[in-house]
Amino acid sequence: MIFLSLGLLVGFIGSLLGIGGGVVLVPYLHYVAGLTFREAIAVSLFAIVCTSLVASLKRMRESEMDFTSLPVFEISMLLGGLTGGYLGAFVSDFVLRIVFSVVLFFTATMMIFRGGLMIFFRPRKNKNRRNADNMTTKTAAVSVLLFFIGTIASMTGLGGGVLIVPTLVLVAGYSMRKASATSLYIMGVMAASALLSQWGSVELTMADFFLLLGGIFCGAPLGFSLADKVSALLLRRMFAVLLFFVSIKTIWQTLGQAL
Protein backbone atom coordinates (compact mmCIF):
# COMPACT_ATOMS: atom_id res chain seq x y z
CA MET A 1 0.00 0.00 0.00
CA ILE A 2 2.90 2.32 0.71
CA PHE A 3 4.15 1.85 -2.83
CA LEU A 4 0.70 2.35 -4.33
CA SER A 5 0.24 5.64 -2.47
CA LEU A 6 3.80 6.63 -3.43
CA GLY A 7 2.99 5.99 -7.06
CA LEU A 8 -0.21 8.02 -6.80
CA LEU A 9 1.68 10.91 -5.28
CA VAL A 10 4.48 10.76 -7.85
CA GLY A 11 2.04 10.59 -10.79
CA PHE A 12 0.01 13.43 -9.33
CA ILE A 13 2.97 15.75 -8.70
CA GLY A 14 4.63 14.87 -11.99
CA SER A 15 1.60 15.70 -14.14
CA LEU A 16 0.63 18.71 -12.04
CA LEU A 17 4.03 20.33 -12.39
CA GLY A 18 4.73 19.07 -15.90
CA ILE A 19 7.96 17.35 -14.96
CA GLY A 20 9.19 13.84 -15.62
CA GLY A 21 8.80 11.06 -13.11
CA GLY A 22 12.51 10.68 -12.40
CA VAL A 23 12.96 13.96 -10.60
CA VAL A 24 10.24 12.99 -8.12
CA LEU A 25 10.70 9.25 -8.14
CA VAL A 26 14.40 8.75 -7.41
CA PRO A 27 14.63 10.93 -4.28
CA TYR A 28 11.28 9.68 -3.02
CA LEU A 29 12.09 5.99 -3.46
CA HIS A 30 15.51 6.45 -1.94
CA TYR A 31 14.67 8.63 1.05
CA VAL A 32 11.03 7.72 1.81
CA ALA A 33 10.57 4.14 0.57
CA GLY A 34 14.05 3.08 1.66
CA LEU A 35 15.21 1.60 -1.64
CA THR A 36 18.90 1.74 -2.46
CA PHE A 37 20.05 4.39 -4.89
CA ARG A 38 20.53 1.92 -7.74
CA GLU A 39 17.13 0.30 -7.18
CA ALA A 40 15.49 3.72 -7.26
CA ILE A 41 17.21 4.55 -10.56
CA ALA A 42 16.12 1.24 -12.13
CA VAL A 43 12.48 1.78 -11.13
CA SER A 44 12.64 5.36 -12.37
CA LEU A 45 13.96 4.20 -15.76
CA PHE A 46 11.11 1.74 -16.12
CA ALA A 47 8.63 4.46 -15.22
CA ILE A 48 10.16 6.66 -17.95
CA VAL A 49 9.64 3.86 -20.50
CA CYS A 50 5.98 3.61 -19.42
CA THR A 51 5.43 7.36 -19.59
CA SER A 52 7.07 7.63 -22.98
CA LEU A 53 5.04 4.82 -24.52
CA VAL A 54 1.72 5.78 -22.96
CA ALA A 55 1.76 9.57 -23.07
CA SER A 56 3.56 10.20 -26.35
CA LEU A 57 0.47 9.54 -28.52
CA LYS A 58 -1.52 12.38 -26.94
CA ARG A 59 1.35 14.82 -27.39
CA MET A 60 2.06 13.62 -30.94
CA ARG A 61 -1.49 14.34 -31.99
CA GLU A 62 -1.37 17.83 -30.51
CA SER A 63 1.84 18.88 -32.23
CA GLU A 64 3.19 18.56 -35.74
CA MET A 65 6.00 16.09 -35.21
CA ASP A 66 8.99 15.98 -37.52
CA PHE A 67 9.10 12.26 -38.24
CA THR A 68 12.21 12.49 -40.41
CA SER A 69 14.49 13.58 -37.55
CA LEU A 70 13.03 11.26 -34.93
CA PRO A 71 15.07 8.16 -35.93
CA VAL A 72 18.34 10.15 -35.84
CA PHE A 73 17.57 11.46 -32.36
CA GLU A 74 16.44 8.03 -31.23
CA ILE A 75 19.76 6.46 -32.26
CA SER A 76 21.70 9.09 -30.31
CA MET A 77 19.54 8.51 -27.25
CA LEU A 78 19.83 4.73 -27.59
CA LEU A 79 23.63 4.89 -27.74
CA GLY A 80 23.68 7.43 -24.90
CA GLY A 81 21.36 5.20 -22.88
CA LEU A 82 23.57 2.15 -23.42
CA THR A 83 26.72 4.09 -22.49
CA GLY A 84 25.07 5.59 -19.41
CA GLY A 85 23.65 2.21 -18.42
CA TYR A 86 27.08 0.57 -18.47
CA LEU A 87 28.77 3.55 -16.82
CA GLY A 88 26.08 3.74 -14.14
CA ALA A 89 26.43 0.10 -13.24
CA PHE A 90 30.21 0.17 -13.04
CA VAL A 91 31.01 3.53 -11.45
CA SER A 92 31.08 3.77 -7.68
CA ASP A 93 28.08 4.86 -5.63
CA PHE A 94 29.99 8.02 -4.74
CA VAL A 95 30.30 9.18 -8.37
CA LEU A 96 26.69 8.20 -9.10
CA ARG A 97 25.34 10.19 -6.18
CA ILE A 98 27.44 13.25 -7.02
CA VAL A 99 26.32 13.22 -10.69
CA PHE A 100 22.72 12.77 -9.58
CA SER A 101 22.93 15.65 -7.10
CA VAL A 102 24.47 17.98 -9.67
CA VAL A 103 21.79 17.15 -12.27
CA LEU A 104 19.06 17.53 -9.64
CA PHE A 105 20.49 20.89 -8.55
CA PHE A 106 20.55 22.04 -12.17
CA THR A 107 16.96 20.85 -12.70
CA ALA A 108 15.81 22.73 -9.59
CA THR A 109 17.54 25.90 -10.79
CA MET A 110 15.77 25.62 -14.14
CA MET A 111 12.42 25.13 -12.41
CA ILE A 112 12.81 28.43 -10.55
CA PHE A 113 12.76 30.40 -13.82
CA ARG A 114 9.66 30.60 -15.95
CA GLY A 115 11.38 29.76 -19.25
CA GLY A 116 13.89 27.27 -17.86
CA LEU A 117 17.20 27.20 -19.70
CA MET A 118 15.71 29.33 -22.47
CA ILE A 119 15.92 32.55 -20.46
CA PHE A 120 19.72 32.53 -20.81
CA PHE A 121 19.66 32.07 -24.57
CA ARG A 122 17.45 33.52 -27.23
CA PRO A 123 16.15 31.00 -29.79
CA ARG A 124 17.25 32.08 -33.25
CA LYS A 125 14.52 32.56 -35.78
CA ASN A 126 14.96 29.97 -38.44
CA LYS A 127 14.31 31.74 -41.75
CA ASN A 128 15.78 29.23 -44.14
CA ARG A 129 14.21 26.05 -42.79
CA ARG A 130 14.11 24.54 -46.22
CA ASN A 131 17.84 24.58 -46.57
CA ALA A 132 18.61 20.88 -46.34
CA ASP A 133 22.32 21.34 -45.53
CA ASN A 134 21.48 23.68 -42.67
CA MET A 135 19.01 21.19 -41.27
CA THR A 136 21.53 18.35 -41.59
CA THR A 137 24.11 20.31 -39.60
CA LYS A 138 21.53 21.10 -36.93
CA THR A 139 20.34 17.52 -36.74
CA ALA A 140 23.95 16.34 -36.38
CA ALA A 141 24.64 18.89 -33.63
CA VAL A 142 21.46 17.93 -31.76
CA SER A 143 22.35 14.24 -32.10
CA VAL A 144 25.76 14.74 -30.50
CA LEU A 145 24.20 16.71 -27.63
CA LEU A 146 21.47 14.11 -27.19
CA PHE A 147 24.08 11.37 -26.86
CA PHE A 148 25.60 13.13 -23.84
CA ILE A 149 22.18 13.97 -22.40
CA GLY A 150 21.14 10.33 -22.81
CA THR A 151 24.31 9.18 -21.03
CA ILE A 152 23.70 11.47 -18.05
CA ALA A 153 19.96 10.74 -17.94
CA SER A 154 20.38 6.97 -17.95
CA MET A 155 23.11 7.15 -15.31
CA THR A 156 20.98 9.13 -12.92
CA GLY A 157 17.51 7.79 -13.74
CA LEU A 158 16.23 11.24 -14.59
CA GLY A 159 14.27 11.62 -17.82
CA GLY A 160 16.44 14.36 -19.21
CA GLY A 161 13.44 16.35 -20.43
CA VAL A 162 14.80 19.43 -18.72
CA LEU A 163 17.85 19.20 -21.02
CA ILE A 164 16.30 17.70 -24.17
CA VAL A 165 13.58 20.33 -24.65
CA PRO A 166 15.96 23.35 -24.53
CA THR A 167 18.39 21.55 -26.86
CA LEU A 168 15.66 20.98 -29.44
CA VAL A 169 14.34 24.53 -29.14
CA LEU A 170 17.69 26.32 -29.16
CA VAL A 171 19.69 24.18 -31.57
CA ALA A 172 17.10 22.59 -33.86
CA GLY A 173 14.71 25.57 -33.80
CA TYR A 174 11.68 23.52 -32.70
CA SER A 175 8.64 25.09 -31.07
CA MET A 176 8.15 24.32 -27.37
CA ARG A 177 5.19 22.03 -28.04
CA LYS A 178 7.00 20.10 -30.76
CA ALA A 179 10.14 19.84 -28.63
CA SER A 180 8.17 18.55 -25.67
CA ALA A 181 6.43 15.88 -27.79
CA THR A 182 9.72 14.83 -29.41
CA SER A 183 11.44 14.68 -26.02
CA LEU A 184 8.71 12.44 -24.63
CA TYR A 185 8.98 10.14 -27.65
CA ILE A 186 12.76 9.73 -27.68
CA MET A 187 13.39 9.36 -23.96
CA GLY A 188 11.62 5.97 -23.94
CA VAL A 189 14.25 4.23 -26.03
CA MET A 190 17.01 5.75 -23.88
CA ALA A 191 15.47 4.48 -20.64
CA ALA A 192 14.80 1.05 -22.14
CA SER A 193 18.36 0.64 -23.42
CA ALA A 194 19.78 1.73 -20.05
CA LEU A 195 17.49 -0.67 -18.25
CA LEU A 196 18.39 -3.53 -20.52
CA SER A 197 22.14 -2.86 -20.55
CA GLN A 198 23.10 -3.05 -16.89
CA TRP A 199 20.37 -1.68 -14.68
CA GLY A 200 18.52 -4.95 -15.19
CA SER A 201 20.89 -6.56 -12.68
CA VAL A 202 19.27 -4.53 -9.91
CA GLU A 203 17.17 -6.60 -7.51
CA LEU A 204 13.60 -5.49 -6.94
CA THR A 205 10.47 -6.77 -5.25
CA MET A 206 8.13 -7.04 -8.15
CA ALA A 207 4.94 -6.47 -6.13
CA ASP A 208 6.16 -3.06 -5.01
CA PHE A 209 7.31 -2.35 -8.52
CA PHE A 210 3.90 -2.97 -10.10
CA LEU A 211 1.97 -1.23 -7.33
CA LEU A 212 4.14 1.81 -7.86
CA LEU A 213 3.56 1.83 -11.62
CA GLY A 214 -0.19 1.36 -11.08
CA GLY A 215 -0.18 4.30 -8.70
CA ILE A 216 1.65 6.48 -11.22
CA PHE A 217 -0.89 5.72 -13.95
CA CYS A 218 -3.83 6.47 -11.64
CA GLY A 219 -2.27 9.60 -10.14
CA ALA A 220 -1.29 11.22 -13.44
CA PRO A 221 -4.86 12.01 -14.67
CA LEU A 222 -5.66 13.61 -11.29
CA GLY A 223 -2.70 15.92 -11.66
CA PHE A 224 -3.62 16.76 -15.27
CA SER A 225 -7.17 17.72 -14.20
CA LEU A 226 -5.86 20.02 -11.47
CA ALA A 227 -3.07 21.51 -13.57
CA ASP A 228 -5.22 24.22 -15.14
CA LYS A 229 -6.78 25.31 -11.85
CA VAL A 230 -3.70 26.11 -9.79
CA SER A 231 -0.69 28.36 -10.29
CA ALA A 232 1.83 26.04 -11.84
CA LEU A 233 4.76 28.45 -11.55
CA LEU A 234 4.31 28.87 -7.81
CA LEU A 235 4.07 25.11 -7.34
CA ARG A 236 7.14 24.55 -9.52
CA ARG A 237 9.10 27.03 -7.43
CA MET A 238 7.99 25.42 -4.19
CA PHE A 239 8.96 22.04 -5.53
CA ALA A 240 12.30 23.42 -6.75
CA VAL A 241 13.10 24.41 -3.15
CA LEU A 242 12.44 20.80 -2.11
CA LEU A 243 14.73 19.56 -4.90
CA PHE A 244 17.48 21.95 -3.77
CA PHE A 245 17.13 20.50 -0.30
CA VAL A 246 17.32 16.91 -1.62
CA SER A 247 20.33 17.58 -3.83
CA ILE A 248 22.22 19.35 -1.03
CA LYS A 249 21.32 16.56 1.39
CA THR A 250 22.57 13.93 -1.07
CA ILE A 251 25.87 15.76 -1.60
CA TRP A 252 26.27 16.28 2.16
CA GLN A 253 25.58 12.61 2.93
CA THR A 254 27.84 11.36 0.14
CA LEU A 255 30.76 13.56 1.14
CA GLY A 256 30.15 12.69 4.80
CA GLN A 257 30.42 8.98 4.03
CA ALA A 258 33.47 9.44 1.84
CA LEU A 259 35.45 11.54 4.33
Binding site: V72, L78, V189, L196, M206
Partner: protein, 114 residues
Protein backbone atom coordinates in the same frame (compact mmCIF):
# COMPACT_ATOMS: atom_id res chain seq x y z
CA UNK B 1 -19.64 19.70 -45.24
CA UNK B 2 -17.65 20.82 -42.20
CA UNK B 3 -18.54 17.63 -40.35
CA UNK B 4 -17.32 15.56 -43.27
CA UNK B 5 -14.00 17.37 -43.27
CA UNK B 6 -13.63 16.89 -39.51
CA UNK B 7 -14.55 13.20 -39.77
CA UNK B 8 -12.07 12.67 -42.59
CA UNK B 9 -9.39 14.50 -40.59
CA UNK B 10 -9.92 12.43 -37.46
CA UNK B 11 -9.93 9.24 -39.56
CA UNK B 12 -6.64 10.28 -41.15
CA UNK B 13 -5.17 11.04 -37.71
CA UNK B 14 -6.31 7.66 -36.41
CA UNK B 15 -4.70 5.94 -39.40
CA UNK B 16 -1.53 7.98 -39.05
CA UNK B 17 -0.99 7.07 -35.41
CA UNK B 18 -2.21 3.49 -35.62
CA UNK B 19 1.35 2.21 -35.18
CA UNK B 20 1.70 4.08 -31.88
CA UNK B 21 -1.53 2.47 -30.68
CA UNK B 22 -0.17 -0.96 -31.69
CA UNK B 23 3.01 -0.23 -29.72
CA UNK B 24 0.98 0.73 -26.68
CA UNK B 25 -1.02 -2.47 -26.93
CA UNK B 26 2.17 -4.55 -27.20
CA UNK B 27 3.52 -2.78 -24.14
CA UNK B 28 0.35 -3.41 -22.16
CA UNK B 29 0.54 -7.13 -23.00
CA UNK B 30 4.21 -7.13 -21.95
CA UNK B 31 3.38 -5.41 -18.63
CA UNK B 32 0.43 -7.67 -17.86
CA UNK B 33 2.46 -10.80 -18.61
CA UNK B 34 5.22 -9.58 -16.33
CA UNK B 35 2.68 -8.85 -13.59
CA UNK B 36 1.01 -12.25 -14.05
CA UNK B 37 4.29 -14.12 -13.80
CA UNK B 38 5.57 -12.12 -10.85
CA UNK B 39 2.38 -12.81 -8.90
CA UNK B 40 2.50 -16.53 -9.73
CA UNK B 41 -0.64 -16.11 -11.78
CA UNK B 42 -2.89 -14.90 -9.01
CA UNK B 43 -1.25 -16.29 -5.89
CA UNK B 44 -0.07 -13.12 -4.30
CA UNK B 45 3.38 -14.28 -3.30
CA UNK B 46 5.87 -11.80 -4.53
CA UNK B 47 9.54 -12.56 -4.79
CA UNK B 48 12.51 -10.37 -5.06
CA UNK B 49 13.89 -10.65 -8.56
CA UNK B 50 16.67 -9.31 -10.62
CA UNK B 51 15.00 -7.27 -13.31
CA UNK B 52 16.99 -9.22 -15.90
CA UNK B 53 15.67 -12.53 -14.52
CA UNK B 54 12.51 -11.55 -16.26
CA UNK B 55 12.97 -12.69 -19.79
CA UNK B 56 9.76 -10.86 -20.44
CA UNK B 57 11.55 -7.62 -19.74
CA UNK B 58 13.24 -8.28 -23.04
CA UNK B 59 9.82 -7.86 -24.62
CA UNK B 60 10.67 -4.20 -24.32
CA UNK B 61 12.96 -4.76 -27.29
CA UNK B 62 10.02 -6.10 -29.27
CA UNK B 63 7.90 -3.10 -28.27
CA UNK B 64 10.53 -0.69 -29.54
CA UNK B 65 11.13 -2.73 -32.69
CA UNK B 66 7.37 -2.57 -33.41
CA UNK B 67 7.43 1.18 -32.84
CA UNK B 68 10.45 1.53 -35.11
CA UNK B 69 8.81 -0.49 -37.88
CA UNK B 70 5.69 1.65 -37.59
CA UNK B 71 7.68 4.85 -37.91
CA UNK B 72 9.57 3.42 -40.86
CA UNK B 73 6.28 2.60 -42.55
CA UNK B 74 5.10 6.20 -42.07
CA UNK B 75 8.38 7.53 -43.47
CA UNK B 76 8.27 5.18 -46.42
CA UNK B 77 4.75 6.35 -47.22
CA UNK B 78 5.75 9.99 -47.07
CA UNK B 79 8.77 9.24 -49.28
CA UNK B 80 6.45 7.73 -51.86
CA UNK B 81 4.23 10.81 -51.61
CA UNK B 82 7.18 13.09 -52.23
CA UNK B 83 8.12 11.44 -55.52
CA UNK B 84 5.73 13.63 -57.45
CA UNK B 85 6.55 16.80 -55.56
CA UNK B 86 9.57 19.04 -55.72
CA UNK B 87 10.46 18.76 -52.01
CA UNK B 88 13.72 17.02 -51.15
CA UNK B 89 13.50 13.36 -50.26
CA UNK B 90 16.88 13.38 -48.54
CA UNK B 91 15.65 13.85 -44.94
CA UNK B 92 13.04 11.11 -45.39
CA UNK B 93 15.60 8.65 -46.77
CA UNK B 94 17.99 9.57 -43.95
CA UNK B 95 15.17 8.89 -41.50
CA UNK B 96 14.46 5.48 -43.02
CA UNK B 97 18.15 4.51 -42.97
CA UNK B 98 18.50 5.62 -39.32
CA UNK B 99 15.35 3.73 -38.32
CA UNK B 100 16.71 0.61 -40.04
CA UNK B 101 19.96 1.05 -38.11
CA UNK B 102 18.03 1.48 -34.85
CA UNK B 103 16.02 -1.67 -35.45
CA UNK B 104 19.22 -3.58 -36.31
CA UNK B 105 20.87 -2.43 -33.06
CA UNK B 106 17.79 -3.46 -31.08
CA UNK B 107 17.70 -6.90 -32.75
CA UNK B 108 21.42 -7.35 -32.08
CA UNK B 109 20.98 -6.40 -28.41
CA UNK B 110 17.97 -8.70 -28.06
CA UNK B 111 19.93 -11.58 -29.65
CA UNK B 112 22.86 -10.93 -27.30
CA UNK B 113 20.60 -10.80 -24.24
CA UNK B 114 18.84 -14.06 -25.00
Amino acid sequence: MKKNVINRRSKNLKKRFLWVRVTQLAFLVCLLSMAAISTDFGQVSMYTHHLSDFKLLYMLYIVFIVRGLGLMFVLQKSAAGLQKKTASRRPVIRGIVCELLLISILIFLAYKSF
